[in-house]
C-alpha cells in the first residue's frame, strides 16, 4: 500500500474515530454517572442523522438542518428518558438491557414507517465541498477534515466542561459516588437528566455529521453502538480522555485494518480467498484488540473507578 493511500486511510480512520468518540462520550458519561447501560444510545445517533437529513431537505440548507437537528435530537432523548429510562435507574442491568433493546426495536421500525426503508440522502454543504491537496496529486475531502475539526473542537469543549466547570465537577463526583453527591443536596435527578440530554445531543451531532458520507437508513446506529462499547471497554468507564484515545485507536485500527488486510493476506493466499479472509479478519480486528485489552488490562487505558 502506497504512502499516499496510507495517509488517506489514516485520516479516514481519524475521522471515523472522532465520530465514534462523540457517540462513546455520551455513553460513558451516562454509564459512569448513572450506572445505566443504554443500548438505545445508537438510535440517538440514528435520529440525529434522520433529523439532520430531513430538516436539511426541508429548509434547503445543510447548516439549518444541523442547527435544528441538535435540539430535535435533544428533545427526542429527553422524551425517551422521561418515558422509559428514568424508570430503569434502580433496576438491574438485565432489565436495562432489555428495555433499551425494546426502544431500539421500536425506533428502528419507527423510522422505517416515517421515512421509509430506503436510505436518505444528505448533501455536503457547499462550503465544505471538494477536496484539498494534502500532497501533490493527493486530494482529500474537505468535509471529512471538517468532521475531524468539529470533533476535536467538541472534544475540547467537553474536556473543558467536565474538568473545569462546577457542573462538570458534579458529574465527575457523581460518577464515583452518587449517594454522596445527592446527600450534598444536589438534585441528582436533574444532574442525570442533564448528563443524559447532553450525551444524546453529542450522539445526534455525530449522526448529523455522518449523514452526508454514510447512508441514513434504519439500523445505522447499531454498529456504532457496539463499537462505542468496545471503545469504552478499552478506554475505561468514566473519563473522557480514555474514550477519546480509545475511539481514535479503534477508528484507526478498523479503517487501516480493512484497507490493509486483503493486501496482507495476499502474501499468503490467492486473490479471492485473500479478499475474503482479509475482510473477515479486518472486521474482527477491533474485537481482538478489545479481547487483548481485557486479557491484560481489564480496567481500561485510564481506569478511574475504585472497586
Amino acid at each position: 500500500m502506497s504512502p499516499e493511500l496510507l495517509l488517506v486511510q489514516a485520516l479516514n480512520g481519524l475521522q471515523f474515530g472522532i465520530l465514534l468518540f462523540l457517540v462513546a462520550a455520551g455513553l460513558t458519561l451516562v454509564f459512569g454517572v448513572m450506572d445505566f447501560i443504554n443500548l438505545a444510545h445508537g438510535v440517538q445517533y440514528m435520529l440525529g442523522a434522520y433529523f439532520g437529513a430531513s430538516l436539511a431537505a426541508a429548509t434547503g440548507s445543510f447548516w439549518l438542518g444541523l442547527l435544528l437537528a441538535l435540539p430535535a435530537a435533544l428533545l427526542a432523548g429527553l422524551v425517551l428518558e422521561f418515558l422509559v429510562f428514568r424508570h430503569l435507574y434502580d433496576r438491574d442491568h438485565l432489565a436495562q438491557v432489555l428495555a433499551t433493546f425494546g426502544v431500539i426495536l421500536f425506533l428502528n421500525e419507527g423510522v422505517k414507517l416515517v421515512w421509509g426503508a430506503a436510505p436518505l440522502q444528505m448533501p455536503i454543504p457547499a462550503l465544505l465541498e471538494g477536496g484539498v491537496a494534502l500532497m501533490p496529486g493527493l486530494q482529500y475531502p474537505i468535509y471529512r477534515l471538517g468532521i475531524i475539526g468539529a470533533g476535536l473542537a467538541t472534544a475540547l469543549l467537553l474536556w473543558f466542561l467536565v474538568d473545569r466547570t462546577r457542573a462538570g465537577m458534579l458529574v465527575r463526583a457523581g460518577a464515583t459516588n452518587p449517594e454522596m453527591v445527592s446527600a450534598l443536596g444536589v438534585d441528582i435527578r436533574r444532574l442525570f437528566t442533564l448528563v443524559f440530554g447532553f450525551g444524546a445531543m453529542l450522539a445526534g451531532f455525530a449522526g448529523v455529521m455522518a449523514a452526508p458520507i454514510l447512508s441514513v437508513e434504519p439500523g445505522m446506529g447499531d454498529t456504532p453502538l457496539i463499537l462505542a462499547f468496545v471503545v469504552i471497554v478499552i478506554g475505561g468507564i468514566g473519563p473522557i480522555r480514555g474514550a477519546f484515545v480509545a475511539a481514535l485507536l479503534v477508528g484507526l485500527i478498523d479503517t487501516l485494518g480493512r484497507a490493509a488486510m486483503p493486501d496482507l493476506m495476499r502474501l499468503f493466499l490467492a486473490p479471492s480467498p485473500a479478499r475474503q479472509a482479509g475482510a473477515a479478519i479486518a472486521s474482527m480486528l477491533v474485537y481482538i484488540l478489545m479481547a487483548a485489552f481485557l486479557a491484560f488490562r481489564p480496567a481500561g487505558l485510564f481506569p478511574v473507578r475504585t472497586g
Partner: protein, 308 residues
C-alpha cells in the same frame, strides 16, 4: 412435588400437541421453533438466572452450531454421529474462548463484551462467501440419523426436539440443584463470600458458560434442520436480545419459565407479524412494558415460588 407440576404439564402438552389439533405443518413448525429456542433459552437461563451472568451474545452459540452443520453439509457429511458432536464441540469451544476472556470482567463490562464477541461471530459468518455470506446457505439435506432421513418427517422431528429439550431441561435443573449450582447461585449473591470460604467462582462460571454454549450449539443444529437454511442473521444481536427476553418473560431463575417464554415469544411474533409489517413497533413497547411491570414472569404467575 409442586415444583414439578408446571414442567410436567408443559412437556405433556408439547408431547400431545400434534394429536390435539396442532398436527398440521404450520403448527408443527411453530412448535418446533418454540422447542428449539426454548432449549437455547434454558441454557441461557442457567447462565443468567443461575449464575447471574447476562450474556448478550448467546445467539452466536446457536449460529456456530448451525454453521457447523453448514460446513459439514458443504463437504457432504450429514450423519448425525459426526454432525452433532462437531457442532456441539464447536459451540463449546467458542464459548470457552470467549468466556475465558469475558468472565474476567463483570457487570456492564461483561454484557458489552459478550455483545462484542457475538458481533465478531456475526461478521465472520457474513464474510464466509463459500457458505453463502450475507445471503445464507441452503442445506442439501437434513442431518441423517443412523442412515435414515428421520428428521425430514415432521412428526419425528417434533419428538426428537422434545426429547432433546427434555434432556436439556433435566440436566440444567439437576445442575442448578447440585453442588455446582449452589456455587453459581452463591457467587451471584456475593462473590466475595464464596471466595472467603475457599472457592474461586471463575472455573464454575466458565463451565456454566461452556455448558450454555454447548446447549446453544445443539439448538443450532436443530434450527438448521428445521429451516433447512442458515443465515448470518441467526447470530445477530437482535436474536441474542430475543433470547434474553424469553428468559425474563418466563421469569428469572426458572428453567421451565424459559420454555414458556419461548412459547410466548414465538406466538407473539407470529400473531404480531400477521397484524402488521411493522410489528416490531408493537413488540418493542411490549418488551419495555414487560420489563417495567411484569417482574415475576410467566412462571411467577403460574406457580408461587416458595424458595429460590
Amino acid at each position: 412435588m409442586r415444583e414439578w407440576v408446571v414442567p410436567l404439564v408443559l412437556f405433556a402438552g408439547l408431547a400431545a400437541a400434534p394429536f390435539a389439533g396442532f398436527g398440521e405443518g404450520y403448527a408443527l413448525t411453530l412448535l418446533a421453533r418454540t422447542m428449539i429456542l426454548g432449549m437455547a433459552a434454558v441454557g441461557l437461563a442457567l447462565l443468567v438466572g443461575g449464575a447471574g451472568l447476562v450474556s448478550l451474545g448467546h445467539a452466536a452459540t446457536l449460529g456456530v452450531g448451525a454453521y457447523a452443520v453448514v460446513v459439514l453439509d458443504a463437504n457432504g457429511i450429514t450423519d448425525a454421529t459426526t454432525v452433532l458432536p462437531v457442532a456441539i464441540a464447536a459451540a463449546a469451544l467458542f464459548a470457552l474462548a470467549t468466556g475465558a476472556i469475558s468472565l474476567r470482567t463483570s457487570g456492564v463490562h461483561f454484557i458489552m463484551i459478550t455483545l462484542a464477541f457475538g458481533q465478531m461471530a456475526f461478521f465472520t459468518a457474513s464474510s464466509l462467501a463459500a457458505y453463502g455470506g450475507d445471503d445464507g446457505y441452503t442445506l442439501f439435506s437434513r442431518t441423517e440419523v443412523a442412515g435414515t432421513r428421520l428428521l425430514e418427517d415432521r412428526l419425528a422431528f417434533h419428538y426428537v426436539c422434545l426429547g432433546l429439550l427434555g434432556l436439556t431441561y433435566l440436566f440444567c435443573r439437576a445442575a442448578l440443584a447440585a453442588r455446582f449450582g449452589r456455587v453459581l447461585r452463591a457467587a451471584r449473591e456475593n462473590a466475595l463470600r464464596v471466595r472467603a470460604v475457599g472457592l474461586d467462582p471463575y472455573p464454575y462460571r466458565l463451565l456454566a458458560y461452556v455448558l450454555a454454549g454447548a446447549i446453544g450449539g445443539l439448538a443450532g443444529v436443530l434450527l438448521a434442520n428445521a429451516a433447512e437454511f442458515v443465515a448470518p442473521s441467526y447470530l445477530s444481536w437482535q436474536r441474542s436480545g430475543e433470547l434474553l427476553f424469553m428468559v425474563i418473560l418466563g421469569g428469572l431463575g426458572s428453567l421451565h419459565g424459559a420454555i414458556l417464554g419461548a412459547l410466548a415469544y414465538v406466538l407473539l411474533e407470529e400473531w404480531l407479524s400477521h397484524l402488521t409489517e411493522h410489528w416490531r413497533m408493537i413488540f418493542g413497547p411490549l418488551l419495555i412494558l414487560s420489563v417495567l411491570f411484569f417482574r415475576g414472569g410467566l412462571a411467577g404467575l403460574l406457580a408461587p415460588r416458595q424458595r429460590r
